[in-house]
């Protein structure tokens, strides 16, 4: 098969590029080594749409942060995923911090970031009583928001697919040949040709670039550990809480996620590209730093933890655009604020493809909208009653911690979920305080029946992440 564009990497950037390209009459392939969209760096993201004032406008990161920020309302509306501008507070403990707030505020105003306010200690205490009494001042930025990063990936990919983009998962790229008028991409699932390649391979963008003979940019991994707290703490803080940043890091934050669960983190330490470990030191660091912001937060409230790896290019900035190899366009080194910037990054990549010679002819059949998924738990009592009346599947609870119904799980499988993590990130089944203890088996049964796979073929997240073995394979008789 010959495609116009092959996108390597279905993280939030690759998905956003795919969806942007699906507006045009093009044959596009989106491929990823993982089993579902967003299963690399994107799913371990903090889920923050940054307010816009953090990044230096002299950098690409800083510029696209604000540009991308403004695209999210429309994206969420079209694709039906949750997004809320809950605002953020960057807090100061002393005069040094206050100077940092002034610099951030000035930088934001220069960039045109709207709504920035300085709050005195009294206002901070009134609005966020759980925060430390030692906070002397804060900078409030109402433009900051939260999304579920995996939902953004799933819906971008789903909408792209609905508009004709072909997807191929568990399909790592093994090598790329340059051929006349394009590239021959050898993946695990077979060989495909493409006139253009978009390298959105995250941590491995340097390896993909090397396959076409490019030298760099070198990508290093900076690990962030995050800790999720029990839903009981919902509302403990209402806004994103940032310490005053240092030149290298935004610090350890308190994040009220879109679903209401409080998350604390991330750490920021260099790591190997496969190091997704959480550590005792990381936990200690996160909770110590967070307690400075809000003394009442405790390790005891932790229900889950995870680690993600940021793809950091030399020079720390995004590397986006054409390369020395004609037709090979990159979006590499996409670290924070990559999620925020993703819509702007996608437009930039499409512009670069156009400059490289890709003809963009609008597809009149492009439909930007995706029906939002049913969310039983957050529906009103009347809506819940109507749902149950419409389909008894919505009357059967699968996940009791997060109140997820069988109907929602079946919907998610119909929309492409093929793994337990895929179900979890689409429906929240298994994401609550019991961490799947009660619902995992039912989810496995539903995957087996609805996606037509034997139970032992159900995995946590693809590949060798099997969950159960047939009795005869593990047990007696062997």
């Amino acid at each position: 098969m010959r495609y116009d564009v092959i996108i390597v990497g279905a993280g939030v950037v690759g998905c956003a590029v795919a969806r942007e390209l699906s507006r045009y009459r093009l044959d596009v392939l989106l491929m990823d080594k993982e089993c579902e969209a967003g299963f690399g760096t994107s799913k371990a993201n903090s889920g923050i749409i940054h307010a816009g004032h953090h990044g230096d406008p002299a950098t690409l990161k800083g510029r696209l942060e604000w540009e991308g920020n403004q695209a999210w309302d429309r994206l969420a509306d079209e694709l039906g995923f949750g997004f809320e501008r809950i605002g953020e507070l960057t807090v100061a403990f002393d005069d040094d911090d206050r100077r940092t707030l002034s610099e951030l505020e000035a930088q934001g105003r220069d960039k045109g970031v709207t709504g920035l306010e300085r709050w005195d200690a009294e206002r901070v205490r009134r609005e966020e009583p759980a925060l430390s009494e030692e906070i002397v001042e804060a900078l409030f930025a109402p433009t900051a928001g939260v999304v579920n990063p995996y939902e953004a990936c799933f819906t971008l990919a789903e909408n792209a697919h609905a508009n004709g983009v072909v997807t191929s998962f568990e399909d790592p790229v093994i090598s790329i040949d340059r051929i006349d008028d394009g590239f021959r991409v050898h993946g695990r699932n077979g060989t495909v040709d493409g006139r253009f390649v978009v390298n959105a391979a995250g941590l491995f963008a340097d390896e993909i670039a090397a396959m076409v003979g490019l030298d760099g940019p070198t990508i290093r991994a900076r690990k962030g550990e995050e800790y999720l707290l029990d839903k009981r703490l919902q509302g403990y803080v209402k806004r994103l809480i940032f310490p005053s940043p240092t030149p290298t890091s935004k610090g350890v934050l308190i994040i009220p996620t879109y679903d209401g669960t409080l998350m604390v983190g991330p750490t920021a330490h260099w790591a190997l590209k496969d190091d997704l470990t959480t550590t005792a030191e990381g936990a200690a660091e996160v909770f110590e730093k967070v307690r400075r912001l809000a003394p009442g937060i405790s390790e005891r409230d932790c229900i889950a933890e995870f680690a993600g790896l940021r793809a950091v290019a030399e020079g720390e900035d995004f590397v986006v655009g054409p390369t020395a190899v004609p037709g090979f366009v990159q979006a590499a080194g996409i670290q924070s604020p990559g999620l925020t910037a993703a819509p702007a990054l996608a437009e930039m990549v499409v512009e670069a493809l156009k400059d490289e010679g890709l003809a963009l002819q609008a597809d009149p059949e492009f439909d930007p909208r995706l029906a939002p998924p049913v969310r039983f738990a957050t529906a009103s009592a009347e809506e819940q009653a109507a749902l149950v009346a419409s389909d008894p599947g919505y009357g059967r609870i699968v996940c009791r911690c997060e109140i997820v119904t069988e109907g929602e799980v079946v919907d998610a499988i119909e929309r492409g979920a093929r793994t337990l993590d895929g179900l979890k990130f689409r429906t929240r089944a298994g994401m609550g305080r019991c961490q799947g203890g009660f619902c995992t088996w039912r989810c496995m049964e539903l995957l087996s029946s609805e996606a037509d796979m034997p139970v032992p073929a159900v995995t946590k997240r693809g590949g060798g992440s099997w969950v159960v073995l047939p009795r005869e394979e593990a047990g007696r008789g062997h």
Partner: protein, 426 residues
């Protein structure tokens, strides 16, 4: 075959029982005993019985039925009585909220969304298992790390194996039972690792599930790291020093494909929180009176939702009392209030109930904080009783009769468990 199909969900009941496990069934029967006519059990599963269905090993019923039964047999006996006593069981149903004037909002496959009124409510939702997140085991996040109860469901109900080479963290009873079960099924259990210096499960299970099957139990040892990219491939186990510091540099790697967690149960108190009941931080469950009434009038609680029990027989006993009290409340025969507060004293982690009446007989359950050989249980200054032993993994039970308290005129009784000599000199 006994069937639980009833004609029609009534708009109002004398007693509504939330949860149809052993606690819920015994509570419903207790309510009928004291004259409640209309009793409803709401359960989220397809049949009543709760977690007993996956407990196919024997050892249930020695106290209550005077014979040894399996979990499903124990459940069946109660189930038959429940049906015989014309108690409505609404299965595949979920109580969404219990706000307002003792009405519960129930979602069910059969009736959709309904609000059902109850003169009294009994909470019997049971407990859930603690997970990896609760203790933050460092390392990678592969498939194959699961709670012992989930593995039990896989093996005993679903008919699948969780893996071939299994490490078990924590020495709770479910983990011990599963160690034996997995060996019987042909898997290898490489060891049971317990952070504390003593086992958390019952002695009976240590002997019958580990010793009899040559499964090593490593005390003061923990899983300090989980390895494996897609599926578990090994764990690091390390000794634990003073103050529970993990001595990872003295650790070693053990190959396995599965890690079972048996690190404790947490009462499921989401509804209790909605009802704004007073909770006891030591048990994780509601504070209850001598008649198992919570801090809210007409709301009773029993079983693992109140505190985690070792034996289902004790659950049945406690739940019968809760049900009787709820039935009495619903029919206007509630007893007078309690007049004595019980508080855990020396070496006692918690005691249930939290209050008693000097007029009535009470069964008081408690857990000690550390193991004891010969020791003495002291009830304030009014009563002392020798105990042959006391372990944190086995609930200590004492009957408090009005006779004992005849001379007592205070309002607070402290319960201590102390070494024998000290106890005798008191």
């Amino acid at each position: 075959m006994v069937t639980d199909r009833f004609e029609q969900l009534a708009p109002a009941y004398d007693v509504i029982v939330v949860g149809g496990g052993p606690a819920g069934m015994a509570a419903a029967l207790g309510a009928r005993e004291t004259g409640a006519e209309r009793v409803l059990i709401v359960d989220r599963e397809g049949e009543a019985g709760g977690i007993l269905h996956q407990c196919i090993h024997a050892g249930f019923g020695l106290h209550w039925f005077g014979e040894e039964l399996t979990g499903p047999e124990y459940a069946q006996r109660f189930f038959e009585q429940v049906v015989e006593h014309e108690i409505d069981i609404l299965t595949d149903a979920y109580v969404l909220d219990a706000e307002g004037d003792l009405g519960v909002r129930v979602m069910s496959e059969r009736y959709g969304m309904r609000t059902v009124a109850g003169s009294a409510v009994v909470l019997a939702m049971g407990a859930r298992e603690r997970t990896r997140g609760a203790i933050r085991i460092p390392g990678q996040r592969p498939a194959g790390v699961m709670t012992a109860g989930f593995a039990q469901k896989l093996v005993n109900q679903a008919g699948y194996m969780p893996g071939k080479r299994v490490a078990i963290l924590g020495s709770g009873d479910i983990g011990l039972i599963m160690a034996r079960r997995l060996v019987l099924e042909g898997a290898e259990v490489v060891g049971v690792y317990e952070l504390m210096a003593h086992a958390n499960g019952s002695n009976r299970n240590i002997v019958q599930c580990l010793h009899d099957f040559d499964i090593p139990l490593h005390l003061s040892t923990t899983v300090s790291r989980i390895h494996g990219h897609e599926r578990v491939d090994k764990v690091t186990v390390a000794p634990v020093g003073e103050g529970y510091t993990v001595l990872e540099d003295q650790g070693s790697d053990v190959a396995c494909d599965t890690v079972l967690l048996s690190i404790g149960l947490i009462p499921e108190n989401e509804l209790s929180r909605q009802l704004r009941l007073r909770l006891d931080p030591a048990t994780g469950g509601p504070v209850v009176s001598g008649s198992m009434e919570t801090s809210r009038d007409g709301v009773f609680a029993c079983g693992n939702v109140v505190h985690v029990h070792d034996l289902v027989d004790h659950v049945s006993e406690e739940a019968t009392l809760a049900g009787r009290s709820a039935g009495a409340y619903a029919t206007g025969q509630a007893p007078g209030p309690d007049n004595v507060r019980l508080v855990p004293g020396e070496n006692v982690r918690y005691c249930v109930p939290h209050t008693i009446s000097t007029e009535r007989e009470h069964v008081v359950h408690m857990r000690v904080t550390r193991p004891f050989e010969a020791c003495t249980l002291r009830l304030g200054d009014v009563h002392a009783r020798p105990l042959r032993y006391a372990f944190p993994g086995e609930m200590v039970t004492v009957k408090v009769r009005p006779r004992i308290l005849k001379e007592f005129h205070g309002d607070t009784l402290k319960i201590d468990v102390v070494p024998r000599e000290e106890g005798m000199s008191a």
